[in-house]
Amino acid sequence: MANARLRNVTKRYGDGVALDDFSLDIEDGEFVVVVGPSGCGKSTLLRLIAGLDPLSAGEVHIGGRRVDELSPQHRDVAMVFQSYALYPHMTVRRNVEFPLQMRGMSKRDRRVRAEEVAELLEIGALLDRKPAALSGGQRQRVALARALVREPALFLLDEPLSNLDARLRTNVRQHIRDVQRQLGVTTLYVTHDQTEAMTLGHRVVVLDHGCTQMVAPPLDAYARPANAFVAGFLGAPAMNLLPGTIESDALVLAGQRVELPDALRASIVAWGPAVTVGIRPEAFASAQGGGGGAFVVHADPATIEALGSETLLASDTGGRRVLIRVPGGVAADLPPFSAPVSSFHFFSPADGRRLGP
């Protein structure tokens, strides 16, 4: 167990940049989730930390020791690969014992330790099987067991749930979180799944095209996204991003004049005239009596997706598709929905930067 410091870590392939000037401090025992779309450099980041690929620039420190010149086997880093990378010719037991064996642990101790970890990950009954005789979820747990068995200084996971079906994913997600909290192992977890990003870590790093977009606790990132990319990436369904124009006392949004409340007017006017307005689907509610200071949309009945616990709808407003999410069901006559200005996020249309607090 240790902290990890990444300083200006950069990876170039030819003239492309897979990871650009990435810096991050991970505290001892912290669980950090890196989230971003496919191809944004997540696997690259983990491979650089693990020493599987050389850095183009920057430094990696683990437990106060600079490791970027060390070969992978001397970094004390464990990794769960997206493909699991189990040794197919070894039984589960030998897979799990392999890291201990490579460190010269005696056969007896190895066995005891492997069985402890197997217990923790509930694979005790599978120890004498080969990986080919396991289900996807079981393989996944064996991969976790093999990585955790030697109590690494830093634990890396590359989209470990992406090959599991949805139901299993929820179980394993919680299991991974419990195991991490229980062992207190410093963890860096990468995923393209925003649910995992929101629920697993102490902090989330949002990555796009190799560049860090935001580092924050997940709920902070959800509540106050640093830019339009983060706003669109975290949260499902995604935040609506609409072009708006600020006039002296109102915001024109998708052809609609939205009055600005007195409290917000002064600051919002200063950002104008052109802004990108972000409205979360869940910011909408049935409009009661109308009134100013809100964006009102009429949902298309054909788009209703009733999930029981919530309902998803869409509206084509001023040539833009706006997603709406409300708890429970909706009335048959489908009322208009409105979102108050106080729930809006404002971004600069030029560079996507968040405007205001």
Partner: protein, 267 residues
């Protein structure tokens, strides 16, 4: 109906291959006059081992057998020792792979018999010509065997996901341990296949064996002499000796080529 056609075809192919094989075995085990009997007899009337003893008297058969086995085994060892690292590197580094491809193809382009003569000249200079332990022949056979083994093993290593080797390194294995504990076991069936094919390449090789050795000959040139000088019974006896490892290898190779060792590594 279709199935019966396939079965018939299989029998036809087997027959075409097995009839001459049977004749050779029969000829080796029956007196020479029966070989020339007309119409030919399919079932031997009289069994005898006299062809084997006759061949041993006519040519240095025991020495030839020893030399053939020795050279073939040594060739397998040296060929695999050279091919394994080269094949692994070629599978993992595309730039190395494409370069080695050229070398391998070039090595197979020239007919052996054309190379045998200049090689003999070089070996005279090096003191390897007609070496009693077959050292020169061993070197020549290694040159023949490497391209085969290289291509088989490279394909095998390509089938081993690089992530398994990455995982082993992160699990604390040195590059050598990674190779021995992970990469090598996963190409074992192909390694076995390569070893057997290289054995047969050497075992069967004629041109170098004829031109690089004079008094210490392997089995193929001995067979050639017996046959060329008109002893079908004696040469059949040598041929049967030569068939034994081929049949054994055939039986060993078949299950090795079928097994799927890589199942289960991934999702």
């Amino acid at each position: 109906m279709k199935r019966r056609g396939i079965v018939l075809l299989a029998f036809a192919i087997a027959g075409v291959n097995l009839v001459p094989l049977w004749l050779v075995v029969k000829q080796a085990l029956t007196p020479e006059r029966e070989s020339f009997a007309w119409p030919p007899t399919w079932v031997p009337h009289e069994l005898t081992l006299s062809n084997f003893s006759g061949a041993a008297e006519a040519v240095p058969l025991a020495q030839g057998l020893g030399l053939s086995v020795g050279v073939a085994v040594a060739t397998v060892i040296s060929t695999l020792a050279l091919s394994l690292p080269a094949a692994w590197l070629a599978a993992r580094r595309e730039e190395v792979g494409s370069r080695l491809d050229g070398v391998v193809v070039a090595a197979r382009l020239f007919p052996t018999i054309a190379i045998a003569v200049p090689l003999a000249v070089i070996f005279v200079g090096l003191g390897l010509y007609n070496d009693s332990s077959g050292a020169g022949l061993w070197l020549a056979h290694t040159l023949l065997g490497v391209p085969f083994a290289f291509l088989i093993l490279r394909a095998a290593f390509r089938g081993v996901p690089a992530e398994l080797e990455d995982a082993a390194q992160l699990d604390g294995a040195s590059p050598w341990m990674t190779f021995v504990r992970v990469s090598l076991p996963l190409v074992r069936p192909s390694l076995g296949a390569a070893a057997m094919l290289v054995f047969l390449v050497s075992w069967d090789e004629f041109a170098y064996a004829l031109l690089l050795q004079v008094t210490h000959r392997t089995l193929p040139p001995l067979l050639f002499y017996l046959s060329a000088f008109g002893y079908p019974g004696l040469s059949s006896a040598v041929a049967v000796l030569m068939l034994v490892p081929a049949v054994v290898i055939l039986l060993l190779l078949e299950p090795a080529l079928r097994s799927g060792v890589l199942a289960g590594s991934g999702r």
